[in-house]
C-alpha cells in the first residue's frame, strides 16, 4: 500500500515534468518566459482586484463595472496594435472557428457559471492564491468538468458543438477597407471602455486591511 502511494506520486511528478518538456519543445516561448507571462498575468489581475467576487458577480448584478471597462480597454488597444504587427510579420493570427452551437451553448453555460461563482478560469487561480477556499472547491468542480469533457468528447460534446462555419475576422467582411475597419473597431471598443459609467462594489473585509490613504473608496 505504502509503495503504491509512492509510485503514484512519482507518476504524477513525471507527468508534471512531461508538461514542462511539452512547453520547451513546442516553440511558443521558453519555459521561463511562459512562467513570467503567468506571473505578470496573475499580478495584473490581483493588483487591479478584478479577481474579486464583488467585481465579477458584482458586474452580473450591474453593481460594478471595473471588469468590462478593463476588458474593453485591453481589447481596444490590442486590436489596433496587433493588426499592424501581423501585417509587419511580427505576430500571427490564431483565430477560433465559428461553431454556432458550441459558442451559444458554451457561452450560456459559461456566463451562468461566471455570475454564480464570481470568477472565470483566469481569475479563479489568482483568488485561490490569495486564500479563497470556496474558489478552490470551484476549481475542483472545474477539474471534474474537464474530466467529463475529456471522457465524453467524441461521443457527446463534439457532436453537440456542431460544424465549424470557418475562421472569420471582421476586416475580411469589408474587403478594400480593412485598415479603416480595424481603426474604427479599436477606437469604438476603447470608447465603450471609457463611456461605461464607473460603478464599484467594495469588500470591507479587504479594505479594512489598508490605511485610510490606501483605501480606494476614500480617495
Amino acid at each position: 500500500m505504502h509503495t503504491q502511494i509512492i509510485t503514484e506520486s512519482e507518476n504524477f511528478a513525471s507527468r508534471i515534468v512531461q508538461m514542462f518538456e511539452n512547453v520547451i519543445h513546442q516553440g511558443h516561448g521558453s519555459l521561463a518566459l511562459v512562467f513570467l507571462i503567468g506571473i505578470i498575468f496573475g499580478g495584473i489581475i490581483q493588483y487591479t482586484r478584478v479577481d474579486k467576487f464583488e467585481k465579477i458577480a458584482g458586474f452580473s448584478m450591474l453593481k460594478d463595472t471595473i471588469v468590462p471597462k478593463m476588458l474593453f480597454l485591453a481589447v481596444g488597444i490590442t486590436s489596433i496594435a496587433l493588426y499592424f504587427m501581423i501585417e509587419a510579420g511580427w505576430a500571427h493570427y490564431h483565430i477560433k472557428p465559428v461553431i454556432w452551437q458550441g459558442l451559444i451553448i458554451g457561452g450560456t453555460l459559461f456566463g451562468i457559471s461566471m455570475a454564480i461563482m464570481g470568477k472565470c478560469p483566469g481569475t479563479g487561480p489568482v483568488s485561490i492564491a490569495e486564500g479563497r477556499i470556496d474558489v478552490l472547491i470551484g476549481a475542483i468542480g472545474g477539474l471534474f468538468g474537464g474530466l467529463v469533457f475529456t471522457l465524453y468528447y467524441e461521443d457527446f460534446f463534439k457532436p453537440l458543438m456542431g460544424e465549424s462555419a470557418g475562421k472569420l475576422i471582421l476586416p475580411e467582411l469589408f474587403p478594400g477597407n480593412e485598415h479603416l475597419v480595424v481603426l474604427i473597431f479599436g477606437v469604438v471598443i476603447t470608447l465603450i471602455a471609457i463611456l461605461i459609467p464607473k460603478i464599484e462594489m467594495f469588500d470591507e473585509a479587504d479594505l479594512s486591511q489598508l490605511t485610510d490613504e490606501e483605501r480606494p473608496d476614500k480617495v
Binding site: 508534471i16 511539452n22 516561448g29 511562459v34 507571462i37 503567468g38 506571473i39 505578470i40 498575468f41 495584473i44 489581475i45 493588483y47 487591479t48 478584478v50 458577480a57 452580473s60 468590462p68 471597462k69 478593463m70 476588458l71 481589447v75 490590442t78 486590436s79 496587433l82 511580427w90 490564431h94 477560433k96 461553431i99 459558442l103 451559444i104 451553448i105 458554451g106 457561452g107 453555460l109 459559461f110 456566463g111 461566471m114 461563482m117 464570481g118 472565470c120 478560469p121 483566469g122 487561480p125 485561490i128 492564491a129 486564500g131 470551484g138 468542480g141 477539474l143 474537464g146 467529463v148 475529456t150 467524441e154 460534446f157 458543438m161 475562421k167 472569420l168 475576422i169 473597431f185 489598508l210
Partner: protein, 167 residues
C-alpha cells in the same frame, strides 16, 4: 498604491497580450481554460492514447499549465506584499450581502458552477482570456459571438440568482 486603476490595468493587460502574441514573445494567444482538462488528464492519470481530446490539447494545455503556475505565484506575491488581501476565507462578503450566509450553499454552488464553467468554456473553445481578450483583439467573429452570449447570460443570471434589492 494598493489598487491599480482599471485603465492602468487595461493598458498593462494590453501590453501583456501583445508580448504573448508577438514572435519575440510566445507567438500564440493568451488563454486560460485549456489547462483545466489538461490537468484533469494529469490528476486522473488518463492515457492520452485513448482520449483524442487529450491529444488535441497537449500543446496548448501544457503551455497554459505553466502559465497557471506563474499566475498562482504572481497572484500570491502580489496579494501578500502589495494588495495585502491574502487571507483564508470560505464565503465572499458580496455573497453574504446578496445571496445568503450559508458556507455550505456557497461551496456547493462554487463546485457546480466550476463544473459547468469548464464544460461551457471547452464547448465554446475559450474563456474570458482566450475568447474575450485574445479573440476579440484579433477581431474574430467567433469571439464576438461568445462575448455577446456570455454578457447576456451573465447579466440575466445576476438578476435572477441574487437578491439585488438594496437592504
Amino acid at each position: 498604491m494598493s489598487r491599480l486603476p482599471w485603465w492602468v490595468g487595461g493598458i498593462l493587460m494590453s501590453g501583456l497580450l501583445i508580448l504573448t502574441f508577438s514572435i519575440f514573445g510566445a507567438d500564440r494567444p493568451l488563454g486560460a481554460s485549456t489547462y483545466v482538462p489538461y490537468f484533469a488528464g494529469l490528476v486522473f492519470d488518463l492515457d492520452p492514447a485513448k482520449y483524442k481530446y487529450l491529444q488535441d490539447i497537449k500543446n496548448p494545455g501544457s503551455w497554459e499549465g505553466v502559465l497557471l503556475l506563474g499566475a498562482l505565484f504572481g497572484g500570491f506575491i502580489t496579494s501578500m506584499f502589495i494588495t495585502k488581501s491574502f487571507r483564508f476565507s470560505l464565503i465572499p462578503s458580496g455573497w453574504k450581502k446578496y445571496k445568503n450566509n450559508s458556507i455550505l450553499s456557497r461551496l456547493l454552488w462554487s463546485f457546480v458552477a466550476g463544473f459547468f464553467m469548464i464544460i461551457g468554456a471547452r464547448l465554446a473553445g475559450g474563456c474570458t482570456s482566450g475568447h474575450f481578450m485574445s479573440g476579440m483583439s484579433q477581431m474574430a467573429i467567433s469571439s464576438m459571438i461568445f462575448g455577446t452570449v456570455v454578457m447576456i447570460s451573465l447579466v440575466v443570471t445576476g438578476k435572477l440568482f441574487y437578491n439585488t434589492e438594496e437592504k
